[in-house]
Point group: D2
Chain length 328, copies 4
Amino acid sequence: MARKINRIGVFTSGGDAPGMNACIRAVVRTALYNDLKVTGILQGYQGMISNQFIDMNSRSVSNIIQLGGTILKTARCADFRTPEGRKLAYENIKAEGIDALVGIGGDGTFTGIEVFSREFDIPVIGIPGTIDNDLYGSDFTLGFDTACNTVIEAIDKIRDTAASHDRLFFVEVMGRDSGCIALNSGIAGGAEAILMPETGTAIDDLIGQLEKAADGKKTSTIVIIAEGEMNGGAYNVAKRVKSKFDFYDTKVTILGHLQRGGAPSSFDRVLASRLGFAAVNLLLAGKSRRVVGLRGNKISDINIEESINNKAFKLADDMIELSNVLAI
Amino acid sequence: MARKINRIGVFTSGGDAPGMNACIRAVVRTALYNDLKVTGILQGYQGMISNQFIDMNSRSVSNIIQLGGTILKTARCADFRTPEGRKLAYENIKAEGIDALVGIGGDGTFTGIEVFSREFDIPVIGIPGTIDNDLYGSDFTLGFDTACNTVIEAIDKIRDTAASHDRLFFVEVMGRDSGCIALNSGIAGGAEAILMPETGTAIDDLIGQLEKAADGKKTSTIVIIAEGEMNGGAYNVAKRVKSKFDFYDTKVTILGHLQRGGAPSSFDRVLASRLGFAAVNLLLAGKSRRVVGLRGNKISDINIEESINNKAFKLADDMIELSNVLAI
Amino acid sequence: MARKINRIGVFTSGGDAPGMNACIRAVVRTALYNDLKVTGILQGYQGMISNQFIDMNSRSVSNIIQLGGTILKTARCADFRTPEGRKLAYENIKAEGIDALVGIGGDGTFTGIEVFSREFDIPVIGIPGTIDNDLYGSDFTLGFDTACNTVIEAIDKIRDTAASHDRLFFVEVMGRDSGCIALNSGIAGGAEAILMPETGTAIDDLIGQLEKAADGKKTSTIVIIAEGEMNGGAYNVAKRVKSKFDFYDTKVTILGHLQRGGAPSSFDRVLASRLGFAAVNLLLAGKSRRVVGLRGNKISDINIEESINNKAFKLADDMIELSNVLAI
Amino acid sequence: MARKINRIGVFTSGGDAPGMNACIRAVVRTALYNDLKVTGILQGYQGMISNQFIDMNSRSVSNIIQLGGTILKTARCADFRTPEGRKLAYENIKAEGIDALVGIGGDGTFTGIEVFSREFDIPVIGIPGTIDNDLYGSDFTLGFDTACNTVIEAIDKIRDTAASHDRLFFVEVMGRDSGCIALNSGIAGGAEAILMPETGTAIDDLIGQLEKAADGKKTSTIVIIAEGEMNGGAYNVAKRVKSKFDFYDTKVTILGHLQRGGAPSSFDRVLASRLGFAAVNLLLAGKSRRVVGLRGNKISDINIEESINNKAFKLADDMIELSNVLAI
């Protein structure tokens, strides 16, 4: 039988992502609507250890749905990796009256609540929030759609100037070990080549592609480079290409952390609202150790171990294939 | 056995939608990649009748992936509804050498190619392109995501000024008979109330909601009104609310056709690329009378009759429910 | 000799405008830098009467430079127009320790502080903040540049769809009695016609212009209509044009209050920072009853009576002329 | 007495800038309005030498006002620096019937037409078009305003994530030898420090500023670095700061050429329209060897030698001062 929950603790952890605030809002308001109380835990796991708690009401989350970042902040926390740290965290949240947790973040976040719930028998739900879109159990993670929009706005601007000259542009995008942002934004931006960890393009192959594009009389060429691909990032690729292929003037853009910010897209805000709503409803239904996600056009949930233990393979086959076909 | 196709005709029809150009580009380049020829048909069915054809090569679709509207233009065409009109259209496209059609648009577009392919035995594929998201067979139609982003950018701006005053804003959005844009942008915009054809909110109920919001000390209230809802649009709703509820200063925004334009979002460009790629591959595989669409995270296809004959019910139950819960 | 000022009161009044927060930030930080204290007065003159004061430090204005609206809110205040109301306001701000005022707003705001400073001998500085750009003494008022950018983004989107069809779009923009937003955004948006209070275009003349454009084979026509022009707004103009000129399908967009919101442009943020900085420096220099403004590329200041008593003529002659020449 | 001009040649040269297309449109339409013919010269001076001419009519410049880049493209041209190259260029444009030139670009562009007009007695007008805002004779150059908006949108996004963590962000912006983009976008973005060529901040001084900001409990710090400043760009500054100051996690963004693209702002489009209109009117009035510009809120013109020979000092004193005051 499900235990009665009185107070939910909500936190964000890991790299921040657009849509986290919309998700916090959904968790808080869904909980309040169901007569639960809500504590916001600041700085993720660090806040559990150092007692950074704030009581949240409906107005605490007014006018935040459109904000990038996270009002609860995030931080790394070495202490939570130790049994002593987790014990202290548990005592603190118990003293605060928190009897269930909703954690928004990536695989590190999920690993944390998984261990925590095993050790202290507290209900936990994970919500996938990372721009990298590298989690198993959801077609899309919070922030990924916004990050792709941010990248293509940059590519569109670069293409304006690319069309005016004969230039070769290298744009480095985020994604850690995942090429998901690179592949999606590369297709959406009409890039001539996309370098990803998953496909592992060698420099010589890239040069071959660029030569083909030059023959086709393209006036400009844009190459998207995932930060995790094997050639060491945009600067290194640019340097190596330039040494073999000096027809073009090469230019580098490193988008960096601006990809983590910005007002979330409609897609991310709707997804955030649905996931936060679903997470609280799962807790109310007596569930624990679940990760909510979007599958197809429906919200569903899987075991947290299943999410943690499966490596994500997000790159759809048709997309890898068409990225080559459409670049002609 | 599949007939050999030599030349594809591609056209856009109905209301234009962001992503149509990205989709045209994908159709053209996928066809060229497979050694097919491509004719662009201007002005939709009207162009078939009045012989508005352009031969398309890879450069014809350079630098259009980011453009709103459609380079092939659209038009209404009464003549195509007559057997004589269609016969003329068929003779024209045959003379042009077109032996398969890809039509991008809404249900009117699909109805047209369905009849046409029955009468003249020409292979046809439909691609769902409309901001209204009201077609059966695809979780998302081309342009819907961009339109929602456009609406929430407007709502975000209105909320800035709303937060500075005690005001009641009515924002009318598109969607014809569908509340899909209203529901998604209303949730994403954090609207206090959403009036949709599907839910049919009476003015008295709306006033009840607004009074509850006023009690909760919200400093601003934004109401999203789908153009197809039963009270006759934002101006009429505003007038009737104002007469019963004069606490607030009421303001109306009619977004109108700006919702049909704008650079397509990353989501719409990727979707457009995948759908265009899939449509040509279906033709190459000898298929006809199919509508391609996104289901889950996969591209699939259904019979065109199935798409035409099913009324779309796109509003997910959890979304209607959460739109009330989160507005508290 | 200048009196020693210890505490500045800052407020926003009238319609809000993008850049007001950036200006509040500049006033607060410049004052603090010079060892003055600062009180934020909420709701403009109303806050003086009802004692809505908040003490402001450097962190009070952190992370607001990019926000539309005003964190100090604005309100209308009938009481301040009475001598009794102003007396109460003065007693309240005196009790708060405020010995100088910076008011950000339009002519109503300036009229208020002008009377107030005469009656109670308190130093006052006015900062022009309104999207309408209708104040004498500054080439640009805070928020005008952002509002023009908002309007042209809307026009650009409408033009996407306009280029796909043969349509006539009417876009109504703000500006009260001023055509400044209409003229600037009309030129910047490439509108085919601009209806403004200053130029007074009759419907028959407009129809003449539209016929000329139709002859020139323009595929789309966009008409910008200032809310204060003589024909009664976009809906009325559209109706009257339609009845005489049915070649086009006519569509109306009412942008409304979204023009008052949005993240301020770089221009508005820099202007806001310079004006706020200058206002405090004037008070420190013992000045009062001045309005600061941008003239050329320099910040200057004029007597507040001069600003109030002069009607603004902001529409540069070359711009009115070129708006006709470039629409061909 | 002024010679009769029949055909104007218009070209863009040097780095492209948002607003160039709006300016080309204004030149073309103003010329046509006055019954002049217009030739578009592709690739700048290179196009004169290699005969890349296109006849332009009103429709040639339809729907380009909102586009970044330049439809006439730009290129570097070593040949034009030789007397033989210029002679060939002159013979070509003479053969084309061009009897006056409007060149849009930076100081290199102006130097080219200045020499050309002396050698071949052809009327020339220069229009300042560069994002760097480093030309004498105009308060603002075409593209500068848009570039600043592009930069602050990036900074706003970075600040979202900055507010969630304790991080130190370095953002490198363009401007060649000018700190104008850095100063304006740094003020508008609320940056904690701005490194510019003009002010020459040593690393130790920067570290002092950052330590002060850290004491003031700022949760994030953003440093804007002009590409031309003395410490060698964002990567080098980040490395040197990191080695002495490891409290923060440091992150680098290199915006690169996306600053040259994007739809021009309203300000840039209006400025482009006024300058193009004025340039043609000067030619019609028999003037030559002038550079048009915005001074105050008025379009004026100066001798081209005056523009070339004066080093621009665009950084207003109050802005440098307030950038320090407001960063507290």
